[in-house]
């Protein structure tokens, strides 16, 4: 069924309402048809026991193309659990100090979440029940995902502007929590969207809002957002190419990349997550290399643990390392060290030179991230490392940075396979070390 024509099936109330930017109070915001989401109801929903999003959930509906029943089941699953997650985010936001949420950027995000909650709840519970409804539901999900794709830079901007009113530790705690939760929420929505698209149309059509970039053998290996046969070497090469382009643009130099270890290895994972992480890490490595004037290639080693227990990727550069006084900061959402001129152009690794404002534009692009994980530019706010770690840890992986100051840095990314096996068995990934506290 064609998505475009199905829009007319949406009830009027579902079409996006204008967001009131300054409206902050906790009194219910009335929607045109009189539906309100009151404070109490939000609290009630948020108090639901959290169901962490496991890999089992992601694949439980089957391999695409899904039957209509399975697709509807997936839609209903999302309908049931997405509001809970949204409510928990709303509660977290509204428990922030008034002065923070009064900031125009933070309040925009707050409104966004409320809007999305209302939108989802306009579908009755235990719906959708028909394919027509399912299509409408999916389109609504797509809109929500798009609406929230800017959350990070906007939130970051807001916190930056408020840095005088909140301690660095408190802000880091909130952001870490929020952004980790966001990974799960987004994943839930995107998974259904991907399953829908894979079940109802060819994945290579142009109207596909999520990019399958075919890094694996093809759509057969995908289960929604998961590529069961993802080859990290491929992603590393494409990210290196992208980051190298930006380097060339900015510095006139393109550091070399070498891949060793086991480049052929494949494992089940979510490509957009890996892309995000690798891009951030390569950005750090390339920039350090260039700024140190080193011609030594960045070496990426891929190691596959026996019995598919996971993979380890080591990124080794000779870019001079991280100064001891900066090491304590690399994991914080370090808006507290920003000054305003640097907010759009600066970045966080130790020893970064002063940026020429005229280069802001180029650097803004340097800080763009490819892929659907983070839709738009992170704008050099220094979120790369903590956010990469959040992604890595989401399914029980880890990220460690080891610096040999005076020489270079080694970064160790460990990922557990999103344990699909032969689809019969469910592996460990996602069930332990899970940081999904939405």
């Amino acid at each position: 069924m064609n998505l475009v024509s199905s829009r007319s099936l949406l009830p009027r109330s579902l079409r996006l309402l204008p967001i009131s930017r300054r409206h902050l109070s906790t009194t219910p915001i009335a929607a045109p048809d009189g539906y309100t989401a009151s404070t109490d109801e939000i609290a009630r929903l948020a108090a639901n026991p959290l169901k962490p999003l496991t890999l089992r959930d992601l694949i439980r509906f089957g391999r695409p193309p899904l039957s209509p029943q399975a697709l509807l089941a997936s839609a209903r699953f999302t309908r049931e659990f997405l509001p809970i997650r949204l409510c928990r985010r709303i509660v977290a936001l509204r428990n922030l100090p008034f002065i923070i949420v009064s900031n125009q950027h933070v309040s925009a995000i707050y409104d966004n979440y409320q809007q999305s909650l209302r939108t989802v709840q306009l579908f009755p519970t235990s719906h959708p029940n028909t394919m027509a409804e399912e299509v409408a539901f999916t389109e609504m999900l797509i809109d929500i995902v798009k609406a929230h794709s800017n959350t990070i830079p906007v939130l970051a901007r807001g916190f930056l502007e408020c840095r005088r009113y909140i301690s660095s530790a408190e802000a880091t705690k909130f952001l870490d929590h929020h952004l980790r939760a966001r990974i799960g929420t987004r994943l839930m929505a995107e998974q259904h969207i991907a399953l829908h698209l894979a079940s109802t149309q060819s994945p290579f059509s142009n109207s596909n809002p999520l990019d399958y970039d075919g890094t694996s053998g093809g759509p057969d290996t995908y289960i929604g957002t998961i590529d069961t046969s993802l080859q990290p070497a491929h992603i590393i090469e494409s990210c290196a190419s992208f980051v190298g382009d930006i380097c060339e643009l900015r510095y006139g130099v393109r550091p070399q990349l070498k891949i060793d270890g086991d480049p052929e290895v494949r494992f089940p994972y979510i490509p957009v997550h890996l892309e995000y992480i690798i891009t951030e890490l390569l950005k750090n490595a390339f920039r350090a290399t260039v700024e140190a004037g080193s011609t030594v290639p960045v070496v990426v080693t891929i190691a596959a643990a026996p019995e598919s227990a996971g993979i380890t990727i080591r990124i080794r550069d000779q870019g001079g390392g991280i100064a001891p006084e900066d090491l304590g900061q690399i994991w914080s959402y370090s808006f507290s060290t920003f000054d305003h001129e640097r907010s759009m152009a600066g970045s966080k690794s130790g020893g970064a030179s002063q940026r020429n404002p005229a280069d802001e534009d180029v650097l803004g692009r340097f800080n763009e991230v490819v892929g659907a994980a983070e839709g738009s530019s992170i704008a050099g706010l220094g979120y790369g490392l903590p956010l990469s770690r959040a992604y890595a840890e989401y399914f029980g992986g880890s990220l460690h940075v080891q610096s040999a100051f005076g020489w270079g840095t080694d970064v160790y990314l460990k990922l557990k396979g999103v344990g699909i096996g032969d689809f019969g068995g469910i592996g460990m990934g996602g069930l332990s070390g899970h940081h999904d506290d939405v």
Binding site: G310, Q402, A404, G406
Partner: protein, 458 residues
């Protein structure tokens, strides 16, 4: 006759007995025993220890208390060097002698008290109770030494120190065996914490003791002239035990060759061993205690060599071990990278533990084979170190360093970390399972950080 121990003190002593020895603390030795009538303790029962361990003496806890109350006075590498620098004259030697004389019993007392607070069942383990007895005898011996005023006093003092150092060579294997045997009796984390504290304190005592012995030797040597410039001792630049200019590359080369030789001998002289390649800042030097750095690097290289050999037993080429030496303003960093297949994920968590970890029975057996006495050192030590060594000089480390590769003790990493952290350094390991392992040793270069004693004063 009035009791020598006022009632309040007796009560205090009773209250110290929370978990440890309710009865063994009290001494009935002639010079301190009050008459039993004035000392009607409910617990005044002579206690026989279990099993085959020797019957413990009764000792007053009051004396120990007074030493436990004193804090230890930490000393930094810089201070150690300074003490033995030019102008090593009689006054300085005597000053240092008195520092050592007063520090040793304080530091030992802290450790004894620590042991006393461990569960009874642990301290009565035959190995740990041996250590306990050694420590208490040493404590008694040292606390009774009067203030040192002359060079002759110092010489006598040094004799006592030398003797004690030698007697205590068995401590590390005994501790390790005791901890292994007790791993099911007590939470392993507690045992590890205990082990770390004891080892750190042991390093601290031996360092100041051995430094003092070395300086005394220098002072007494016929070629020593107090006002001559650069201190020479047998042609080396040691200041006592401290080597102000350890050459990083030389250490790695020497230790590496030694480890390779041992591996070759153990596996057959025609067997392959991986090459050790060194890169980075090759002229790096730093002040350190040579035996410490040699021990740590030695353990790391042994692990890497063993892993590489095991992992590639069927292939023709052994991938080399790469050692990076890097110096920054305040640190020297060694990175040892091997391709020995990495550490399995389930073993990673226990890597730094003395108590946990696989194959405890095999390790126990291996421990009993580690030579404990200096006498057997000559048999095992195949290569001579380039720097002169005095007999008994930290031979406890030397015996460990020279042990054949098949004696896997399973404590190289945690021990190395104790030594590394002792001088405010660090040891980190990253495993690429299926490929290899990277270990990072970071050393504070300036040596002006005080020894990392516990907050309560070791």
């Amino acid at each position: 006759m009035a009791s020598m121990f006022p009632f309040s003190q007796r009560l205090r002593s009773c209250n110290n007995l929370s978990l440890g020895f309710p009865r063994k603390i009290f001494s009935y030795s002639p010079e301190s025993a009050p008459s039993p009538r004035a000392f009607p303790l409910p617990f005044a029962v002579r206690h026989r220890s279990f099993g085959s361990s020797p019957i413990h003496q009764w000792r007053s806890s009051v004396v120990l208390d007074s030493f436990v109350e004193k804090p230890a006075r930490p000393i930094s590498l810089r201070q150690l060097i300074f003490f033995g620098g030019r102008n090593l004259d009689e006054r300085r030697i005597i000053d240092f002698a008195n520092y050592v004389r007063s520090e040793l019993p304080v530091r030992i007392a802290h450790r004894i008290r620590d042991m006393q607070k461990l569960p009874y069942v642990v301290v009565t383990n035959r190995h740990l109770s041996e250590v306990y007895e050694l420590y208490y005898s040493a404590f008694d011996a040292f606390r009774k030494i009067p203030e040192i005023g002359t060079v002759e006093d110092n010489d006598n003092f040094c004799q006592v120190v030398k003797k004690t150092l030698k007697e205590h060579l068995t401590v590390i294997p005994s501790l390790a065996m005791g901890v292994l045997e007790c791993r099911d009796l007590v939470p392993p984390e507690e045992l590890d914490r205990f082990m770390n504290r004891v080892l750190r304190s042991r390093i601290s005592r031996r360092v100041i003791a051995e430094q003092h012995l070395a300086l005394t030797d220098t002072f007494n040597s016929p070629f020593h002239f107090p006002d001559s410039s650069p201190h020479h001792h047998s042609g080396t630049d040691f200041v006592g035990e401290v080597f102000p200019r350890c050459n990083a590359r030389e250490v790695v080369e020497t230790v590496g060759k030694h480890a390779q030789d041992l591996a070759r001998e153990a596996n057959g002289s025609l067997s392959r061993v991986p090459e050790i390649q060194i890169e980075g800042h090759l002229d790096t030097t730093f002040p350190y205690i040579l035996s410490h750095i040699e021990y740590i690097i030695g353990e790391l290289l042994r692990n890497s060599i063993q892993a590489t050999v095991d992992c590639h037993s069927s292939s023709l080429e052994l991938p080399p071990i790469k050692v990076l030496i890097c110096h920054a303003p305040q640190h020297v960093i060694f990175r040892v990278s091997d391709r020995g297949g990495g550490v399995p994920a389930d073993e990673l968590a226990d890597l730094w533990s003395f108590a946990k970890g696989p194959r405890p029975q095999a390790r126990l057996k291996n421990f009993s084979q580690v030579p404990k006495m200096a006498a057997t050192l000559q048999e095992l030590q195949k290569t001579s170190h380039t720097h002169s060594r005095r007999e008994g000089q930290d031979s406890s480390l030397s015996t460990l360093t020279s042990r054949p590769p098949h004696l896997r003790l399973g404590m190289g990493l945690p021990m190395s970390r104790v030594y590394a952290e002792y001088w405010a350094g660090s040891l980190e390991l990253h495993s690429l399972e299926g490929y290899g392992t990277d270990v990072f040793l970071q050393i504070s270069k300036l040596g002006n950080k005080s020894e990392q004693l516990n907050l309560d004063g070791v």
